[in-house]
């Protein structure tokens, strides 16, 4: 159980309005001056099943979830039985089942843990006020708000914003909030929520999910086209960009399949605009031939790979870090490529810009990994960092008339040859997927093949010089040290900050990688030399990133904390592993 954190979980069936209720609630709490993190679970169906929206609330920054909660609001019967056991001692369960049939085990749990059960006939309230069935979620929001004892205006304002273009519905919702709160006025519930102190300035921050920030980053990077195909958890990148299309003027296109998306991205990139695509593991499998194509023709190619558990269809709406190897080894043949891995909303925003610059500068495929945990969780951000300078890596205007066709793939020390765009110069060339000479003409001659092949490979050295070392969080030397990449950073940092404020103080540090392939190892070797208790933390079975580090350095991780059941790392996973209560 994490103190200084209060966790509310709304659970029910898909289609019961859990997502919108969660969003309204998260916004209201943030505006009231608290830091929030929103974690969503939902099944791969449109209506039914188990869906939930969990909001972790704190007075300091948090970017991960607790495994347990302090308040569960169950919209469906099944959700009650599912989430009851997640409650902390003294937790509150609000439900709308008049005759709640708890099993013996459940009753024992309730008794032992002092769970406060609250029945609220939300449906009756909805019918009284003349609303449709789905308004049950808003009534329950009112109940939650009453328990939190926060000023009414925050939730009312959030309702007004959410339903700004539906004034009649807004009126009903405000009544629903009022009625839901009213019913709990005399419930006399005890919570530890008010131990958490609000911070007024926090209201200036904003909520965003990873994909929204990623898409914004792409727009800031000057992307003029996005070609996609729906696949969870990347789909909302297409949705966001389509929503903003009139504002940005970008080409936003749903292609007929992932191969098309990758090829259209390639065509647009070759013709001269920044373009990208986004998919998940299965869709990326289809794109890999195109990755190889761009490795050969040295056309900048940017692809977002939002990871979810495989193999095959796997768990479409859950999270994993299991496609690192897929990204690194994608596309047959040998050629340089770059793999970056976002770790949260701000990171996704920045890495899109970084990725485009790297793709243009080195004329290679760049794959940007995210996962469902980043893509669809709700992060609380103060402000985005300043946008990166756009670096196109093209021959400048003065040089265009001095070009010859054989400049395009000419041998250079860095491995990077001049690049210019169709239409810019009378010197024309062919971007050939066959092995070729400096102007792109086909060659099969041993010496010519060797020369251009090695030219491309020399880019690896240039890339290695350019890529960044990992980030060190905490001090250089600690008692417990973590090595991680991607979204696991958030859980580890939250645990580090939690332990820092407790009498259970542990000196911890984290070495976290965002630019992961080709991998930089200097800081890592230093880290494992200085720190004696090092733990690899990854959301996959093979410890793929650890294996990559071993491949490059020979270092063998003695301890690996690996998770591969579709769930993200919860704070308690780390605490349990370290046997800290």
């Amino acid at each position: 159980m994490l103190s200084n954190r209060f966790i509310v979980k709304i659970g029910g069936e898909s289609g019961q309005g859990i997502d919108s209720a969660g969003r309204i609630l998260a916004d209201s709490i943030k505006n009231a001056g608290y830091k929030v993190f929103g974690y969503r679970e939902y099944p791969s169906i449109i209506k039914g099943g188990h869906a939930s929206y969990q909001i972790d609330i704190s007075d300091h920054e948090i970017n991960s979830s607790s495994r347990n909660c302090d308040m569960v609001v169950g919209l469906s019967r099944l959700s009650i039985h599912k989430y009851l056991f997640d409650l902390n001692k003294g937790g509150i369960l609000i439900h709308q089942i008049e005759e709640l049939d708890l099993t013996k085990e459940e009753q024992d749990f309730v008794k032992k843990n002092g769970v406060q059960l609250v029945y609220l006939n939300a449906l009756e309230i909805v019918q009284e006020i003349g609303g449709s069935r789905i308004l049950v979620n808003i009534v329950l929001l009112g109940a939650i708000w009453e328990v939190l004892k926060l000023p009414k205006k925050y939730i009312e304002d959030a309702i007004k914003v959410e339903f700004a273009d539906k004034p009649d519905l807004m009126k009903l919702d405000l009544i629903a909030i009022h009625e839901g709160a009213n019913r709990l006025k005399n419930a006399n519930l005890e919570t530890c929520f008010n131990d958490t102190k609000p911070e007024k300035s926090w209201a200036q921050s904003f909520l965003t999910d990873g994909n929204e920030s990623l898409a914004k980053g792409a727009v800031l990077a000057g992307a003029r086209a996005f070609y996609g195909y729906p696949m969870t958890p990347a789909t909302s990148i297409l949705t966001y960009l389509a929503d903003w299309q009139k504002e940005t003027g970008m080409i936003v296109k749903q292609a007929e399949d992932e191969i098309t998306a990758a090829q259209m991205t390639t065509g647009s990139s070759f013709a001269g605009i920044r373009a990208f695509t986004a998919t998940s593991g299965g869709g990326f499998d289809l794109m890999t031939e195109t990755v190889s194509l761009n490795g050969m023709t040295e056309t900048p190619f940017v692809c977002v790979l939002g990871q979810r558990p495989g193999p095959s269809t796997g768990l479409p709406t859950w999270t994993a870090q299991s496609d690192l190897n897929l990204a690194i080894y994608s596309g047959h043949g040998e050629y340089p490529k770059i793999v970056l891995a976002a770790s949260d909303a701000v990171s996704a925003y920045q890495l899109m810009q970084r990725g485009f610059n790297l793709a243009d500068k080195f004329q290679v495929p760049v794959i940007i990994l995210t996962d469902k945990q980043i893509a669809e969780s709700v992060f609380n951000v103060v402000h985005y960092p300043k946008p990166l300078q756009i670096e196109r890596g093209l021959v400048d205007a003065k040089g265009l008339n001095k070009l010859a066709p054989e400049d395009r793939y000419k041998t250079t020390t860095s491995g990077v040859s001049p690049r210019w765009l169709p239409g810019q110069s009378p010197a024309t060339f062919v971007a050939n997927s066959d092995e070729h000479g400096p102007d792109g003409s086909v060659t099969e001659e041993a010496e010519e093949v060797l020369e251009i092949f090695e030219k491309r490979m020399r880019k690896l050295k240039s890339i290695e010089k350019e890529l960044k070392e990992p980030d060190l969080y905490g001090q250089e030397v600690a008692d417990i040290s973590f090595v991680a990449w991607g979204s696991t950073k958030n859980t580890i940092l939250d645990v580090m900050s939690y332990l820092h404020t407790k009498k259970l103080y542990r000196k911890m540090n984290l070495l976290h990688f965002e630019e992961i392939y080709p991998v930089k190892t200097q800081k890592f070797l230093d880290f494992v030399k200085k720190n004696k208790h090092v733990i690899l933390v990854e959301g996959n079975y093979f410890g793929q990133f650890g294996a990559l580090l071993k491949q490059k350095t020979g270092y063998d991780f003695k301890e690996k904390l690996l998770k591969y059941n579709g769930r993200p790392f919860f704070a308690e996973d780390i605490l349990d592993y370290l046997k800290i209560k």
Binding site: K253, S268, G423
Partner: protein, 270 residues
């Protein structure tokens, strides 16, 4: 007669006398197709058509599929891309969307276009992307040594199969027309003048300009050489009152049945 542009013969001066000349497209690289391959004629027609329209190599993007068609990619000037088998259409779509100021011409064979990339053909027609597509239809997979393709005639014994072809061939022009193609034309590789005129008409079209080029393949398709095509084609320019904006008329004419194969600009959506 409604002439959609294929019936006005190109004059020598069109590609020799202007600022852009046909030899601007000349490449030093030796040509290496089989003797009698239809690609020699197609290459000549592409160069003539571009020069006649005064489109310079600097402002041209030629996209190629993998196949004998693609071996043209380093035998001509202009910006060029030689990409993946079956995927030239989405590549050209992305390129034409990105830069509307350059002329995009995609080439693909019957193998890549009607098998590997069939979905891309359907979607290029549906989306009416703005570029010219030349289908080099030689009725087999020539570069991989003579397997049957979707347009190989029934009864042909081809490589990689124990029995002769038994499924009736696809009629690519009919397919495109039926999907709502806004420009459908057919020509054959033995007639450089006809190809030049047809490609010029395609270059002028706003939208997806589909040109089926019936192509000779002396190595793997002995059934329909150039002489056979010469005897079996019929130009719609020679049909009295042929209205190329008439969809019903075009649908009748696009499938030869027992009669001649119609060539020329068959249909343009107005």
């Amino acid at each position: 007669m409604n002439d959609c542009g294929g019936c006005q013969p190109t004059q020598l001066d069109d590609f020799l006398g202007g600022k852009v000349k046909v030899n601007d497209y000349f490449s030093d690289n030796p040509l290496n197709w089989c003797t009698g391959c239809g690609n020699y004629g197609i290459l000549a027609a592409i160069k003539r058509a571009l020069a006649s329209e005064q489109i310079s190599p600097q402002n041209t993007l030629l996209c190629y599929d993998i196949g004998c068609n693609g071996n043209m990619s380093d035998k001509i000037q202009g910006y060029r891309h030689h990409g993946l088998h079956g995927r030239v259409l989405p590549f050209a779509a992305g390129a034409s969307l990105a830069n509307p100021n350059i002329k995009v011409i995609a080439s693909g064979g019957d193998g890549g276009t009607l098998s590997e990339g069939m979905s891309h053909l359907v979607n290029s027609v549906r989306n009416d992307y703005n570029f010219t597509f030349l289908l080099h239809n030689n009725s087999n997979y020539a570069l991989t040594r003579g397997q049957a393709s979707a347009t190989t005639r029934v009864g042909q014994k081809m490589s990689g199969r124990s029995e002769p072809v038994s499924i009736p061939p696809v009629n690519p022009s009919e397919l495109v027309l039926s999907l709502g193609g806004t420009f459908v034309a057919r020509t054959f590789s033995g007639d450089v003048k006809h190809m030049t005129d047809t490609i010029r008409a395609a270059l002028k079209h706003q939208g997806f300009a589909f040109v089926e080029i019936l192509q000779s393949c002396p190595t793997y398709n002995k059934a329909t050489p150039h002489t056979w095509y010469q005897e079996n084609v019929m130009d719609v320019c020679d049909i009295k009152n042929y209205d190329c904006t008439n969809y019903v008329q075009a649908m009748k004419v696009v499938d030869p049945m027992e009669e001649k194969i119609a060539i020329g600009v068959l249909y343009v959506k107005k």
